[in-house]
């Protein structure tokens, strides 16, 4: 069965969803990503969905779950590149993806991830005083 490739870049994992996903493929990505976060002790996950022409409740739920699972495993998740029509439709569908960090493109997404991780490290240092 197909898999969506997960690229490792230092302490980050990058995923670009390029295909119209079947539900099983989305579930497999969720499993693969959480396993990769653990294996590499990743601090951040960037999911680019600029090629996705539709996000329904199933894919929306998957994105929420990945973000939640990642957080528990110590990784921040950011979703980048959502097309405006997809965003409009998602909100009307009733999914505003609360708690999911987003950015317009991969470059800005990486900046946000780096900032989040820096801030996270500061907080740890603060708590330790």
């Amino acid at each position: 069965m197909d898999r969506i490739p997960i690229l490792r870049m230092g302490e980050f994992l990058l995923v670009t969803i390029q295909v119209d996903m079947q539900d099983q493929l989305a579930l497999r990505l969720q499993e693969d990503l959480t396993a990769a976060i653990e294996r590499h002790s990743s601090k951040g996950v960037l999911i680019d969905i600029s090629a996705l022409e539709m996000v329904d409740s199933f894919i929306g739920r998957m994105i929420s779950d990945i973000s939640g699972m990642g957080r528990i495993l110590g990784a921040e998740t950011i979703v980048t590149g959502m097309q405006p029509a997809v965003a409009i439709t998602l909100v009307e569908l009733g999914l505003s993806l609360p708690g999911i960090a987003t950015a317009l493109d991969v470059e800005r997404g990486m900046e946000v991830l780096r900032a989040k991780i820096r801030n996270g490290a500061d907080h740890v240092a603060d708590d330790g005083r």
Partner: protein, 134 residues
């Protein structure tokens, strides 16, 4: 060139859901829907196709192009012969629960289209008809 104005595709597997929404994308493009309207109809079809497969044990999607008041539109009918829905009112309520990310399916799909009609009864399967026009 003569154009087909209707047809039916099966909803028997997850792959069929992907094929159904790709068909809806093509049809709405042919009709000249805006990108936002295309996306709404495609997303609604994805929700309803999944419902027919998961809750209805599989079924079919019929499509018809129609013209009303000089406006062109697309009608989709999702039919399954599953256990049906005993409490339609409850099923139409927002709430995202039941297992695999469903729960917004029916209520969400209704918000994405111009016309929404559902017929179901316990033991009698479910038929959902949606319409969206330009």
């Amino acid at each position: 060139m003569s154009q087909t104005t209707g047809g039916e595709v099966p909803l028997k597997s997850e792959h069929d859901i992907v094929l159904a929404r790709q068909l809806v994308r093509r049809l709405t493009q042919q009709l000249g829907f805006s990108i936002v309207d295309q996306t709404k109809m495609v997303t609604a079809s994805s929700e309803l196709a999944r419902n027919a497969l998961i809750h209805g044990g599989g079924g079919a999607m019929q499509w018809h192009l129609f013209t009303r008041d000089a406006k062109q539109g697309l009608e989709l009918v999702f039919i399954d012969a599953g256990p049906g829905i005993a409490n339609l009112e409850l099923a139409m309520t927002d709430g995202w629960s039941s297992g695999q990310g469903l729960g917004m399916g029916l209520s969400g799909a209704r918000r994405l289209v111009n016309d929404f009609n559902i017929r179901s009864a316990a033991g009698a399967g479910t038929t959902v008809t949606i319409r969206r026009w330009k």
